[in-house]
Subunit: 344 residues, 2 copies
């Protein structure tokens, strides 16, 4: 008789955003006359920018002609996109990352869930509290988090790093040593960031204790202040301890278009095994590439026009954030965020 | 110190198709004047059909306008696509499957690799031999396959079901009882099929021993003979023992466009836990939906024109198969397949 993965049964309720959706639906049904302002999920509302739309149309045309049609993509992503990513997101910032260290995917949510595959179940994770639920739920599914303690709404085998107003919503180095540390800056959901010097402390700590940092930089494009790092690879030593996750969802409005990437430097090793090798194997075996037309759309984001147009979209969302921030403040709430991230 | 998933180290060499690609590249470099006919990987060569191209262009236009823009998709797929799938692929064939039992994904390769997540590591799998390598490799990654026996090129804890010319490349019921049975018909790589009565025997067997059948029907559209089932749900009792995987890659040329789906009937249970619930949780936590424009492209495949146009493409590939079959035969090889599948 087949057996299920019992870890799934330990998960409390359903995935956070499904729960929110159900509650919203129930409220709407009961109050059809009430207007709802949804602040729960970070979806975008602006259409894809003209440069991206042009790239989509022209690549769709390529798919209509046998001479320019594209079948299976390279497992790890097209060179044109990996090169554009490296040039724009790393080389320009002086971060040492190479095109063959970029793994193109269908989005940062998939990557942040799937990255656990290459690690032993026997690793202890550390997460910020509050935290994007995917990090914890996917580790729970893998059996890495112990038991769920209903009264505390916490897992028994997870190191929680409180992010409170006292520390400006930044975590402090944990007292118990973790094996895998999830950091997300600019932070979802608090909107906080840390400086380059502060991030350097995390990199030094991870290298010292032999931990891996999974660094989610999905909101990097919203950074407006000078001293906030755009990538963890701006820090010295990050190549030996950090994996970075990036998304096209928030910088270019790809939430319904799906594109992201993961960076694994070849210097990140366990003994003589590179995590790059393990992830390449995972990616090549359980994934078949992001669609050609979507990869062309991603490439367009990095063009001069694409940067200008998506920059205007980011400014629009940041202005929304400002409106929300000020509105909530004037309504008497204590709020923060909205400076280097759309989150409040 | 973090630890890796040691199961990855047991995997022999790299993923089959990466190995083939490397060999081809090396041969091409050494023999630049030789022309290579690639029979290794089942990629398509015809462009996307006009109806699909139209759907892509018009949905890209929707993404260009705030009024019709689509952000995050429903986790499990848009209703329009799930309804089209159910109507065309199940209801029309008298198979009892409902729209909310369809999980839209980025392709059957991802699904066939990821489906293992919802099962315990402590399950014994049975696979046809030869077999699509993703089934075995992903189970090896999860630690379900024992040790790799280099001399036999087999895993110690996998039930191999030989598919040889003697049985027309169909497997026989295994003597040792498996927990999870992978079946793929029309078969990749042998091109063989089984009749509805033969498949019914597998369904009855799975229900009797409490096994789950993971039924890969990616090549269903190539079936030309009457008595070959198009879905496992044509068989009585399949709702309590079978998961079905489907692809848009081969019927509609989506290898570089990426779309697929998994069917999990609500009657498929372990105790009182439905696998539907577990997969919904997995899908909602580790995946963020297939792109809106690609789901619209998938919907177009099911339209009257889409069916006509993709039908012509299938006829073209089947004619290629016939040419290859006859060419190899006349060159003195013993070959089969090419009747209900493009494989020889």
């Amino acid at each position: 008789m087949f057996k299920i993965n019992e870890n799934y049964l330990k998960l409390p309720g359903s995935y956070l955003f499904s729960t929110i959706a159900k509650k919203v639906n129930a409220f709407t049904a009961a109050n059809p006359d009430k207007e709802i302002i949804r602040l729960g999920i970070g979806d975008v509302t602006l259409p894809l920018c003209p440069k991206v739309i042009d790239a989509l149309h022209s690549s769709v045309d390529e798919m209509a002609d046998a001479k320019t049609f594209h079948g299976y993509a390279p497992d790890l992503g097209y060179e044109f996109l990996r090169n554009a990513i490296v040039e724009h997101d790393y080389q320009k910032r002086g971060a040492e990352i190479y095109a063959d260290e970029i793994f193109v995917s269908d989005g940062a949510k998939s990557d942040s869930g799937n990255i656990g595959d290459i690690f032993s179940v026997d690793n202890k994770i550390a997460v910020c509290d509050p935290v994007y639920p995917v990090y914890v739920d996917t580790n729970a599914m893998a059996g890495r988090t112990g038991e769920y303690l209903v009264d505390q709404q916490k897992w028994s085998n997870v190191i929680y790093m409180p992010c409170t107003a006292e520390t400006d919503f930044a975590p402090e180095l944990p007292t118990e040593t973790p094996d895998i540390i999830y950091l997300c800056f600019p932070n979802n959901p608090t909107g906080s960031t840390i400086t380059k010097d502060e991030l350097q402390r995390w990199v030094d700590y991870a290298n010292k204790v032999g931990a891996v940092i999974i660094y989610d930089a999905a909101y990097e494009a919203y950074i407006s202040e000078e001293n906030v790092p755009h990538t963890i690879y701006e820090c010295e030593g990050a190549r030996t301890c950090a994996i970075e996750l990036k998304s096209f969802s928030k910088n270019a409005g790809f939430t319904g278009t799906r594109l992201g990437y993961t960076v694994i430097p070849r210097d990140l090793k366990c003994g003589d095994v590179t995590l790059h090798h393990l992830w390449a194997r995972r990616h090549g075996t359980k994934f078949n590439g992001a669609p050609y037309i979507i990869q062309r759309a991603g490439e367009a984001v990095f063009s001069e026009e694409g940067q200008k147009q998506t920059g205007e979209q980011i400014a629009y969302y940041m202005n929304n954030a400002k409106t929300i921030l000020e509105g909530l403040k004037s309504a008497g709430y204590t709020v923060s965020g909205g400076v280097n991230a759309p989150y409040i």
